[in-house]
């Protein structure tokens, strides 16, 4: 790895180091820096670090060989650790057998299945779809695990060889579990590295990610290679999960969050080097071990140690080298669509308000049983809450849908908004407080973006995870930010135009209507913004950053503006979030609480403001389903599994519900003649493509292609003219046509 240090990088590094020293010094624990203590810290650090290293190596292998970053890595490990518990503890299988079945049978099978069913379809998908599907897999595994092994029963996995005393070094006992962990981690890193660089399969794996169709031509079978890669990934996830469960407890959230730690280690490896991923794991482990041994945060900061991995992740992202502006990433899976006309947007906005007003006033006769969706104070409160999450989702439309920046931090920004509003006006019911919060949250949005402004999209997603996680552990759990004592008294009702808006039962009708109006106004604003030069510029930088730069777009400024705008909307949502719950709890904002919002918006169509409204309905429908069906245990995690499965479906339907509804249903509206013409054109095009595909199929192409077959293919594709004038382009197109069919073998 080539390291080029710039003066600014060195200055930032020194500043961070100084800050770290200051934090450690200010919070020194009672343990002196004595030899046994140092040995203990190193042993604890290395054994934790070894587990992180295993997880990170798997993550890096999957990413560097398939190009897909697996957010579900931790959740898969979690599921497999629970499975191991089931076999080993609940069913009393002998440990070697249970280990063999989980690590060498179930894990690889799961990896191959994930690859065949989902991941192979994602290789040409946008980053947004790739991320949504893997996050969907993550939520699904979390939910499935919680459904099978419900959390109300306590479970634990023992350390390996717990009864054996272990080895003593300098008076410090080294348990066998720790020794195994450290040795295993080193062995796995060594084997993976050797596999990638010394074996045929490994070389094929690395070739495939560079150029799939070319690697295919030279005899590698892309399907086999990516299957092997996902199998390996799942095996490392299983090993890491089983080893770490005795430390963290068999708790779904804890085991899933190991993935953030693995992210940090993988980011140190720049997502490509197995040895550096191993080193990264050890660094995170040693940092955690050091803090555990020598640092003692006071009660106010008691969760700070858990923020070490996201902090390291952020720092690693800061030091990544600048990304090149890449070309040749364009995709052609869109249909033509026209912009929403102002009158259509206005009608839509008024309809949204109308529906909510009618419901809140009880004008809609209700027919769903006795309690679902009835205009009770409970449901009025929930309705306001759902509209608030709708506003958070609206904040993602310009950011993710238009500018293509995937951020998981907007829920955390809303959390900040809620906490701040309690201090700058919410405690007196002052409407100006909302304005202040909005103004403060705009720069906060930019803060999330800063580490990633220079980098490609995936790192922004990672940085936003780090931000959300840091905010959760360090800030939201600090009593000065969200006070436990003031619980329930944080906000006074807001007085607007003679209405009282608050979470108190009599004020809830006004609240839900106010939220509907706010939502509809923002919806209309966004639809109009889509017609403006700002939205065009954001879409341009998402579609082709290189081309945008070459027409004079300053990418950095454009991104900063969209992050600030998005942050401001999320901040407004935050004030309402605080007001609608009336109280805040310290653990209200774990990083994955925001994930279902992002997923459901993407599933409904992240580029369209109206998708936020549909996403609100989707979001409400999961708990509703649970209640209507009288709360069966099978649906206990439906709020995780539902959005998860919906997001997984994006592997098959990547564009979002609004897109498909528009394509298939817009023609039914009498005034949409354009949609009907569009549909007829698309159908004709698809028929042509089908015929061509059949003809290519009839050629019976097998690798390696014979000159005779290539000539036949040239004829089918009718590219003689193109070949004479632009051989490279013509051959590439040809490969793409063949690659589609051949890669699925």
């Amino acid at each position: 790895m080539k390291l080029k240090a710039k003066p600014t990088s060195i200055a930032v590094a020194l500043a961070i180091a100084a800050f770290a020293v200051f934090v450690v010094d200010a919070n020194r624990g009672i343990a002196p820096y004595s030899w046994p203590n140092i040995v203990t810290f190193v042993v604890v650090g290395l054994s934790l670090g070894g587990i992180y290293a295993i997880s990170a190596c798997g993550l890096v292998v999957t990413y560097s060989t398939t190009g897909i970053f697996n957010f579900a890595h931790g959740a898969i490990g979690c599921f497999l650790a629970f499975l191991y518990w089931e076999l080993r503890i609940n069913r009393h299988w002998p440990a070697p057998l249970a280990l063999f079945v989980v690590i060498f049978v179930v894990a690889p099978a799961l990896g191959v299945a994930l690859d065949k069913l989902l991941m192979q379809r994602l290789r040409n998908a946008t980053l947004i779809v790739q991320l949504m599907v893997t996050v969907g897999v993550m939520l699904t595994f979390m939910g499935v695990t919680e459904t099978i092994w419900q959390p109300n029963t306590g479970r634990s996995l023992p350390h390996f060889f717990e009864s054996s005393p272990g080895v003593k070094i300098d008076g410090v006992t080294l348990t066998w579990h720790r020794i195994i962990t450290i040795v295993l981690a080193a062995a796995i890193a060594f084997i993976l590295r050797a596999l990638l660089y010394r074996t045929r399969l490994g070389i094929a794996m690395r070739a495939v990610v560079d150029n799939r169709s070319l690697a295919g031509l030279s005899g590698a079978r892309p399907g086999v290679v990516s299957g092997a890669s996902w199998a390996l990934g799942c095996m490392t996830a299983a090993i890491a999960g089983i080893l770490i469960a005795p430390e963290t407890g068999l708790v779904v959230e804890n085991l899933t969050l190991v993935v953030v730690i693995a992210f940090a280690a993988a980011a140190i490896a720049q997502l490509k080097s197995v040895p550096w991923a191993f080193a990264g794991g050890l660094i995170v482990g040693l940092a955690s071990g050091f803090v555990e041994q020598f640092v003692s945060f006071g009660k106010d900061w008691e969760f700070a140690p858990q923020a070490i991995p996201p902090a390291i992740l952020l720092i690693a992202v800061l030091f990544l080298p600048q990304a090149r502006l890449e070309t040749g990433q364009l995709r052609f899976t869109r249909r033509s669509e026209r912009l929403t006309k102002p009158w259509e947007a206005l009608t839509g906005a008024l309809a949204m308000v109308g529906i909510v007003v009618a419901w809140a006033n009880g004008w809609i006769p209700w027919f769903w049983g006795t309690h679902f969706g009835q205009r009770t104070p409970v449901w009025l409160g929930r309705g306001a809450g759902f509209m608030v999450t709708g506003v958070i989702m609206l904040s993602l439309v310009p950011l993710t849908g238009w500018a293509g920046q995937v951020s998981f931090a907007n829920f955390a920004i809303a959390g900040f908004g809620a906490a701040m509003y309690a201090k700058v006006g919410g405690q007196n019911g002052d409407p100006m407080g909302i304005v202040w919060v909005v103004l403060m949250c705009a720069p906060l949005g930019v803060l999330v973006a800063i580490p990633a402004l220079r980098l490609k999209g995936l790192y922004l997603a990672l940085a936003s995870v780090a931000f959300a996680d840091l905010a959760d552990f360090v800030l939201f759990r600090h009593p000065d930010i969200i006070s436990q004592v003031a619980n329930g008294n944080l906000y006074k009702p807001l007085e607007l135009f003679g209405f009282r808006i608050s979470s108190n039962a009599p004020d809830r009708k006004a609240f839900v209507i106010f939220m509907a109006i706010s939502f509809a106004a923002l919806f209309f604003l966004l639809e109009m913004l889509r017609r403006s030069r700002w939205a065009r510029r954001w879409i341009a930088i998402a579609d082709s950053p290189a081309a945008a730069a070459t027409v004079g777009v300053n990418l950095t400024v454009s991104k900063i503006v969209v992050f600030a705008f998005s942050g401001a909307i999320a901040g407004f949502a935050g004030t309402m979030l605080g007001l609608s719950t009336g109280a805040l709890q310290v653990n209200s904002f774990p990083f994955f609480a925001g994930l279902p919002l992002v997923l459901l918006l993407a599933v409904n169509g992240v580029r369209y403001p109206v998708a936020a409204f549909l996403a609100v309905i989707s979001l409400a429908s999961f708990p509703a389903l649970y209640e209507v069906t009288h709360q069966p245990t099978i649906l206990v995690s439906v709020s995780l599994v539902g959005p998860g499965l919906a997001a997984i479906a994006m592997a098959y339907r990547p564009e979002g519900a609004v897109f498909y509804a528009g394509r298939d249903l817009a023609g039914l509206l009498p005034w949409r003649r354009d949609a009907r013409a569009e549909k007829a054109m698309a159908a004709a095009k698809a028929r042509e493509q089908d015929i061509r595909r059949d003809e290519i199929g009839d050629l019976g192409l097998t690798r390696p292609f014979s000159a005779d077959k290539v000539a036949q293919l040239d004829r089918v594709l009718d590219i003689a003219d193109e070949l004479a004038r632009h051989p490279a382009n013509a051959r590439e197109r040809e490969l793409a046509e063949v690659g589609d069919g051949a890669a699925l073998d």
């Binding site: 995709r331 030069r533 065009r536 777009v553 193109e722 004038r725």
Partner: protein, 246 residues
């Protein structure tokens, strides 16, 4: 003095020299071609000139200013526009919006009075794709999308225009139209540098040709001189037929 020139530009990819000591000059009022076999370094050269790729050494001079370390968007604002070999149109914007983005961006540096909308409509007419104006570019045929890219580049009112295989994806009729358009543009004083494989297009449209092979300029001259050059024939022209069939 040339409007755009490069001095001893070197780009290495690992151990391979994609460009070694490439010296080129582009003058206004003239169509200049850059030809060479696949992998000769033509697209890399474009990337160096537009700032997408920083050279390992050498200088890029535009209108007397050294722009070797200038960011891409600033170069665009100085008047360097380009199209791409592989399409880089904004595929989820309509054809008209693609051109509008560039025309609106021009407001940031061009203080003359103009309406971006009018500029966009005029350019769509000029390249002949008014019918496609309201279709999303991702749904358009490659040839049409290339013309969108051309209109987008022109919307910046550039001083030098770099075209990467402009006739690729166009049918014969469209290719003739493209040649006519390029001639008209240079008459207005624009400097055009194009990369092209279609030799009849190059020979019929360009005044000056640079031949690139293995990252080095091996010949410079008028179309007639290049066609008669033994070194060029050996390195490039003589093998064209063979390459296409291999």
């Amino acid at each position: 003095m040339a409007l755009l020139s490069t001095e001893d530009v070197v780009v290495r990819f690992g151990g391979i020299r994609a460009l070694s000591d490439a010296n080129l000059e582009v003058e206004p009022g003239m169509v200049t071609a850059l030809i060479g076999p696949n992998g000769a370094g033509k697209t890399t050269f474009f990337n160096v000139v537009t700032g997408l790729h920083e050279p390992d050494s050498g200088r890029v001079i535009f209108d007397g200013t050294d722009i070797t370390r200038t960011t891409p968007y600033k170069r665009a604002r100085m008047g360097i526009a380009r199209t791409f070999q592989k399409l880089e149109a904004f595929s989820s914007l309509s054809a008209r919006e693609n051109v509008l983005v560039a025309a609106e961006q021009r407001k940031a540096w061009d203080k003359s009075r103009f309406s971006p909308g009018a500029v966009a409509d005029e350019l769509l007419t000029r390249v002949g794709i008014t019918d496609a104006a309201h279709y999303m570019v991702g749904t358009l045929p490659t040839g049409t999308a290339r013309l969108v890219e051309l209109a987008r580049a022109l919307a910046m009112n550039p001083r030098v225009l770099l075209l990467d295989e402009p006739s690729s994806g166009l049918n014969e009729e469209e290719t003739v139209g493209m040649a006519t358009l390029l001639r008209a543009l240079v008459r207005d004083g624009l400097a055009i540098l194009l990369v092209e494989h279609d030799m009849s297009f190059v020979m019929g449209t360009c005044e000056k040709i640079f031949v690139l092979n293995f990252g080095q300029v091996i010949a410079v001259g008028s179309p007639d001189e290049i066609q008669g050059d033994a070194v060029v024939q050996d390195a490039y022209l003589g093998t064209v037929g063979g390459r296409a069939a291999s």
